[in-house]
């Protein structure tokens, strides 16, 4: 169970990620699965890459999008939990990054519930390479 003070970071050794037009594209190098997380998810991923406590991520989502805090918190917790299950993020209790500046005042963007789409159609091609010694050896699906 995640708590809001925990620090979330990308599982850098195992994930290749790119944000394109606001959407995050992720590859789990260990399993060969790849993922798309839409625009809100892309924003959340950009915060994960900054190594922030969960509560800062929730706050930033609330400030950035037109969403009530309870909804933002529930959605962020759910998506981080899904990302953790897929081996894409790490959760710790320390080593938070530098934090983020509050957004400039202005209109909040329309909120789109963050969701993960998972694809395994290229897993046979991507999972051909043995994991680096020491990496998680979780089996692919």
């Amino acid at each position: 169970m995640l708590s809001l003070s925990q620090v979330i970071s990308a599982n850098e050794q195992q994930v290749a990620a790119k944000i394109m037009d606001g959407e995050a594209i992720l590859i789990n190098l260990g399993t060969g699965a790849y993922y798309s997380i839409g625009s809100t998810g892309g924003f959340i991923w950009s915060l994960i890459e900054k190594r922030l406590p969960l509560q800062d991520i929730v706050r930033a989502v609330t400030e950035h999008y037109d969403v009530v805090p309870t909804q933002a918190e529930a959605d962020v917790l759910r998506i981080i939990e899904e990302l953790r299950t897929e081996g894409l993020v790490a959760v710790s209790t320390s080593n938070a990054g530098a934090g983020i500046a509050p957004p400039a005042p202005g209109t909040r963007l329309p909120y789109e519930k963050p969701a993960i789409e998972k694809y395994t159609d290229m897993a046979e091609m991507f999972a051909l390479d043995p994991p680096l010694p020491g990496l998680s050896t979780r089996q692919k699906d």
Binding site: K18, A127, L128, P133, K140
Partner: protein, 233 residues
């Protein structure tokens, strides 16, 4: 038309394993008619080892430009109407080419044939081998990599050569392009290629180099675009 097979062996600082790789080619029950070793600017004893095989091997050397470039150079020199590849650190099982030629003979509509591959670990990585004992990587898997490929030469005219801008994943990119071009394929479920896992495998770069990760992400992004074009939201 008489079948002739060119085998291309790209090598970069591969002195340690090159002789074993070449021996596994020469031990084929259906040997290739031409073996081209493309030395991609090695700084080790690769030239000496290749020269010990001059009776069987055409050796060319180029300034280091990456495996895609070395393979393309080999394709340019190939005179066979079929083309195969073997990396200098891997091995073919003796029936590899014979079984693939049978498969392509039986199915003239198929342009390429791939085999399964079996990973094996160098002795220094024995602990890693133990750790991975029950993992999928220790089991035979479909070989969407060059060392498992036998292609009709004409396929390269349709699909093109390897993308030299890619540091890694150039074979994945090529297989995806072949798929898009509608090239038929045969898959042999026998592990006829043994891939050696050692700490210098170029594929490990994906864990270390941003360029390699970007190349891999490009492959995924292209695939995602294709998927979305097929199934409009």
């Amino acid at each position: 038309m008489q079948a002739s097979i060119s085998c291309i062996v790209p090598v970069y600082n591969g002195a340690r394993f090159l002789a074993e790789a070449l021996d596994s080619i020469l031990a084929q029950t259906l040997p290739p008619t031409q073996i081209v070793v493309v030395d991609d600017g090695s700084a080790d004893a690769t030239p000496e080892i290749a020269n010990a095989y001059t009776r069987h091997v055409t050796y060319v050397r180029q300034p280091n430009a990456g495996p895609a470039s070395a393979r393309n150079r080999g394709i340019g020199l190939a005179n066979g109407n079929f083309i195969a590849f073997l990396d200098a650190d891997d091995l073919w099982q003796p029936q590899k080419l014979e079984r693939q030629m049978q498969a392509l003979d039986t199915n003239p509509a198929a342009g390429i044939c791939i085999t399964y591959l079996q990973n094996f670990w160098v002795e220094e990585l024995a602990a890693e081998r133990e750790r991975m004992r029950d993992h999928d990587f220790a089991k035979p898997m479909p070989g969407y990599v060059c060392q498992c490929l036998l292609a009709r030469r004409s396929v390269f005219d349709t699909v093109g050569r390897f993308d030299e801008a890619k540091r890694i994943g150039e074979d994945t990119d090529w297989f995806l392009r072949a798929d898009r071009a509608g090239i038929g394929k045969e898959i042999l479920r026998e592990a006829l290629v043994s891939r050696r896992v050692h700490d210098q495998n170029i594929t490990y770069e994906v864990y270390r180099s941003e360029k390699a990760r970007d190349d891999l992400l490009d492959n995924v992004i292209n695939q995602l675009k294709r998927r979305r074009a097929r199934t409009p939201e």
